[in-house]
């Protein structure tokens, strides 16, 4: 493998990995906060992608101008899902874990079914846009522009999350709720409000990821399932609940995937990812940065 190819594969894997990290961090945020795995996370991504597609069709504006709207809408969607569905599931007296699994899993199926019946199973894609289908070349290495913008957005987002957690009262309240949700009332924090904002935040993160993915990938009702497996592997690899773990693991997954595609075959690009995942599950079940 030439140095040029090596760099090419490494960089494109890195960029894709950052987008995976963005998607996985939303899952990790919600899990860390309240020990609930959102099995509808992939369908949240699908909703975000359809929203972006719909907005582009309706307004004729470029996706780069529309992503804030998609992200804010997904925040509201996530908060509404918590308040309308998940909060009630948490009140289950027995077998709470199972109730949560089937609630979010069922929600995912409903969302996918709704998309299939209302929007048809057709594959759609956003046509020409400012960055769609374009790439930049740097010293002979070609980087697709959507992924490059996605990578930058991902770094910016993780920086903002880091600043928020370390510098703001809301961040501390979030950390405290992650530690012991039952105890935050002792200092006057409303756990339910933090959970609502957490679900909103988790959905907003996948909304941002979906906004970017919609630029270079097809939009269809089951698109979430194509990505959710990678998101779960990323979260488990990074350690369930660890947001920074999701970043590191996302990058690892992206790079391993890119090298598998080149060294084995593009059809087998996930093989390397699952091999790494299996190795981590066997050698370090709590994930690279997990504490559970």
């Amino acid at each position: 493998m030439s140095l040029e190819l090596l760099l090419q594969v490494l960089l494109s894997g890195l960029l894709m990995g950052m987008i995976y990290a963005l998607m996985a961090s939303g899952l990790s945020l919600i899990f860390g906060l309240m020990d609930v795995v959102n099995f509808a996370h992939g369908e949240f991504l699908m909703v975000a992608m359809y929203l972006m597609f719909g907005l582009v069709v309706l307004t004729g504006l470029d996706p780069l101008l529309l992503w804030p709207i998609v992200t804010v809408c997904l925040f509201a969607f996530g908060a509404a899902v918590y308040l309308g569905v998940v909060r009630h599931a948490l009140r289950a007296k027995t077998n709470r874990g199972m109730v949560q699994v089937f609630t979010t899993f069922g929600l995912g199926l409903v969302l996918m079914g709704l998309a299939q019946s209302l929007l048809s199973p057709d594959y759609r894609s956003i046509g020409d846009s400012w960055i769609g289908g374009k790439s930049v070349s740097l010293l002979g290495i070609y980087l697709p522009l959507p992924q490059l913008v996605g990578g930058i957005a991902s770094i910016a987002t993780f920086s903002i999350i880091w600043l928020m957690i370390t510098r703001t009262d809301f961040g501390k309240a979030l950390e405290a709720t992650r530690e012991d949700a039952g105890a935050v009332a002792l200092v006057g924090i409303n756990k339910d409000l933090i959970f609502t904002l957490g679900w909103g935040g988790g959905a907003a993160l996948v909304g941002l990821a979906g906004s970017i993915i919609a630029i270079f990938f097809y939009v269809y009702p089951s698109v979430g399932t194509s990505f959710i497996l990678i998101a779960f592997v990323t979260v488990a690899l990074g350690g369930f609940g660890s947001i920074y773990g999701a970043l590191a693991a996302g990058v690892i997954v992206g790079v391993v995937e890119a090298f598998s595609a080149v060294l084995l075959s593009p059809a087998l690009k996930s093989l390397g990812v699952y091999a790494v995942y299996l190795a981590v599950v066997v050698l370090r079940p709590r994930g690279l940065f997990g504490s559970m």
């Binding site: 009262d169 405290a176 105890a183 009332a185 006057g188």
Partner: protein
């Protein structure tokens, strides 16, 4: 200040406290005594809104607070230090204290109670950067009380503050509780150590299997023959 009337709380189908009535006047220290499982912790948890009452009422400063969400009870001025302290173990001592003043986060003087906390428990000042989970039992109790004081309570409820701390620190702990009362904070104290708590308390109630079996001034309770034989070894 606090008025509990006919309070009954069930816990997983079993009656934990039954028909408990209790008054705590402003500036008082009232201690709740009783054996393990007598319902002392349930009483405090119910007042704090963390357990739901079956029947009865709780009034604080004339307003009914049973059924109010626990974070709003804290906001009304009732701070609760539970038996297991419930610190945020992977956050620093500084962050734990700072979270205590979360309700006052928009006020420039949010850290005002900090000086008082440090003069009560000087060791906390040396441990500011340390993770709460790495503190000794006594230091964790101090931090839990410090965090509670940061919420600027009118009523402080302490559940077994002397539990799990070194014997030589117990005296200091009771001195600290007395000092907190000096600053105008009313105290409802649940304690197994009856001798020490009766020394600082104004009045006491004794719980037995969820019911109040004895109440009176600290002096009266101390002199009661049943108490003398059961707790004071006389």
């Amino acid at each position: 200040m606090l008025e509990v009337a006919g309070l009954t709380t069930t816990y997983e189908g079993l009656v934990a406290i039954s028909d408990v009535s209790l008054k705590v006047g402003k500036g008082e220290i009232v201690t709740v005594a009783g054996a393990n499982g007598a319902g002392k912790s349930t009483l405090l948890k119910t007042i704090a809104g963390m357990e739901q009452r079956q029947s009865g009422s709780i009034h604080f400063e004339g307003e009914r607070i049973d059924g109010v969400q626990p974070h709003l009870i804290t906001a009304r001025g009732i701070a609760f230090v539970p038996e297991n302290r419930r610190l945020f173990p992977r956050l620093s001592v500084r962050d734990n204290l700072r979270l205590g003043s979360f309700l006052f986060r928009k006020r420039p003087d949010r850290d005002a109670p900090l000086d008082g906390v440090f003069s009560l428990f000087p060791v906390l000042k040396e441990r500011l950067g340390q993770l709460a989970g790495t503190l000794s039992g006594g230091e964790q109790q101090m931090l839990a009380m410090g965090r509670a004081l940061m919420t600027r309570p009118k009523l402080l409820m302490l559940d077994e503050p002397s539990q799990g701390i070194m014997p030589k620190l117990v005296t200091e702990m009771f001195a600290a509780i007395k000092a907190i009362r000096q600053t105008g904070v009313t105290i409802l104290l649940v304690e197994q150590r009856l001798v020490e708590s009766l020394e600082i308390a104004d009045s006491a109630v004794v719980l037995q299997t969820g019911r109040i079996v004895l109440r009176g001034s600290a002096q009266e309770v101390r002199d009661h023959p049943d108490i003398r034989s059961a707790y004071l070894g006389a």
